[in-house]
Amino acid sequence: MPSLCRDCLHPFQTELRCPSCRSPRIISHPELFELSIAHMDCDAFYAAVEKRDDPALRDKPVIVGGGRRGVVSTACYIARIKGVRSAMPMFRALALCPEAVVVRGRMDVYVEVSKQIREMMQELTPAIEPLSLDEAFLDLSGTARLHGAPPAVMLARLVKTMEDTLGISGSIGLSHNKFLAKVASDLDKPRGFSVIGQAETAAFLQDKSVGLIWGVGQAFQAALDKAGIRTFTDLLRWEKSALNARFGSMGDRLWHLARGRDHRPVSRNAPIKSISNETTFFDDTASSDILDGHIWRLSEKVSDRAKARARAGRVVTLKLKRSDHTLLSRRISLRDPTQMADRIYRTARALYDQVPDQGPYRLLGVGLSDLVPEDAADLSGDLLDPNAEKRARAERASDAIRRKFGADAIRKGRALR
């Protein structure tokens, strides 16, 4: 059976250890050198970056998350043993694992590391579809001749280089489509390399829960459950037309997924639908001044991300969470899409001004959606706001300064509130 050593990247036929370096970290699979769709997922990415930069944390449980009131964004594997999970409220995480070291995220560092990883991936193939900072799909079809090695070897090399040069480990899922590649990468974390071949696809899926499908959340799973669909075998019993009738646009996709088929291409420009940022406060606040500062900072972040992706949005959303965790959300459509922090801020601020509640709030978020390419944005000025053009020019100038000297090189006064 085709096999590969993950330490020295030596390909060989069936053995228990690598014949060249004697390492036991080998992968063997009949289709190993034929599959070309992969999903790479970094292991506890944020926590791994923190551990790398502060060796004192290496043997301690580390939780990356926002302050004492926020939620866990990443927990390292030591903390995960105690039951800490992503998105868990911090107080619960600390109850499970009181000795954990809580680190405030350093998003700028993560973005930097993510960029380096992306560059490494780009050496493998141009067909990369990033899902977030720490995971991406890669399509290596047709690259074997170019690299002189099959995709499996190049992927093993990718994670090895990541570990050697960046100190970040990742897990690879290799299969014949995106759905299965994503499932595979999760099978053997951390430092995993899992393969799901054509031949065993049906057998592999058989008893798996439909919750495995990316995009099937709790609500949809409950709807499937109502229809008596719990496993893929249940799903296989349904006719395509019946699935369509019951689940609408998702029906077709379910029918194909039930058979382990997923025809979505790995595409660099998987359209993003919205950009949003939010922040949970250390203490609940009702102060307009403080909230205003947050609205500005978040608007600027959203704007930065929109500019980085060359997108602009037509809908601005303001999200507020009250002390009792009830959510309040307001949105408005602009006549003319925007990517400017100034317009996002002014719109979000106007939405805030119309909220009748006095607060206090524990969380504030600003979002931009209904995205379009940036060349359709900010094309016309506002008759009633003749200074807008001036402010837009100032914003472009400060963007140029920030690009050159760093994000903190120039700030608005209101960002300091």
């Binding site: 408005i332 719109t347 094309l379 016309s380 506002d382 008759l383």
Partner: protein, 372 residues
Amino acid sequence: MKISIERGTLLKAVSQAQSVVERRNTIPILANVLIEADQNSVSFRATDLDIEVVDKAVAQVERAGATTVSAVTLHEIVRKLPDGALVVLSDNGTSGRMTVEAGRSNFSLATLPREDFPVMASSEYTANFTAAAPVLRRLFDKSKFAISTEETRYYLNGVYMHVANGEAGSVLRCVATDGHRLARIDADLPAGAEHMPGVIVPRKTVGELRKLLDDDDMQIAVSVSETKVRFATPEITLTSKVIDGTFPDYTRVIPAGNTRKLEVDASEFARAVDRVATVSSERSRAVKLSLDEDRLVLSVNAPDSGAAEEELAVAYGDDRLEIGFNAKYLLEIASQVDRENAVFLFNSSGDPTLMREGNDTSAVYVVMPMRV
């Protein structure tokens, strides 16, 4: 209550009522029309708490009284009855039902007690005047297209009706803008309007008012206070709250120093804009105007859908100019011109452009250009 009323008369009264009533309502009584009958007239009253309309109609009143029924249902029934039918509305005051009879048709509608019906508090009006229907029609028709729908700037969601200083003294002026375009329409100041407070008439009220203005010979009684405005014909009284806000200082928005003058046949221009805009992308709808000595080229270049160009002979004698606009805004503005040529006054490709009809300054429009 028991009344007999001609179907056409009833339909007119009820249709005005049902258009004021909000379709989605959390307060059941607001979906109803209040029918009040005394001696020989009957009135139909409907409200959404911001607007109230009362329509008096001639009817034969057999038994005076009052009740409320669903405005939409009653309207639908009356609409479907044959023309010329005599309709009898009656209730006995205790059954909670009102019957509608016409020929062999018989309906029974649920009622709600008239005591629950909110009647708009009357107001002390500070100005009362009359204006001919065509005058008000022009003021509102030519300005309403520019009303904003943006809720964050709620003070733009209406037409600002006020007294202003025109070139030849005081005028009654209506202004509307959404920040992209602006319309400023003037009319002679009617006697009695001199001390009228400026009010922002909400968009919905403007729409309802329009139904009162179809008859050219009609004189409309207008009453204005700081918080309310009322328009009345002998049959219909429309009372509305005005938008509680300050209309922005529009005078500084209207460019005074634009010198580059383009004169063009408005309908020819509008048709050409419409044609070239066919290929523009749904999102931006930008049309480029390239002006040169007596020549205007309209062009659209939408990378994903195509390109279009059309040339028009115009009167233009200034330097070359290229300027872009949203096609929809250009069309709307050009379609306001009905008698003479459209005159555009430009400054630069980034500055607001002014448009008027010939040399008539009683109706001017401003539109913001678009980067192309």
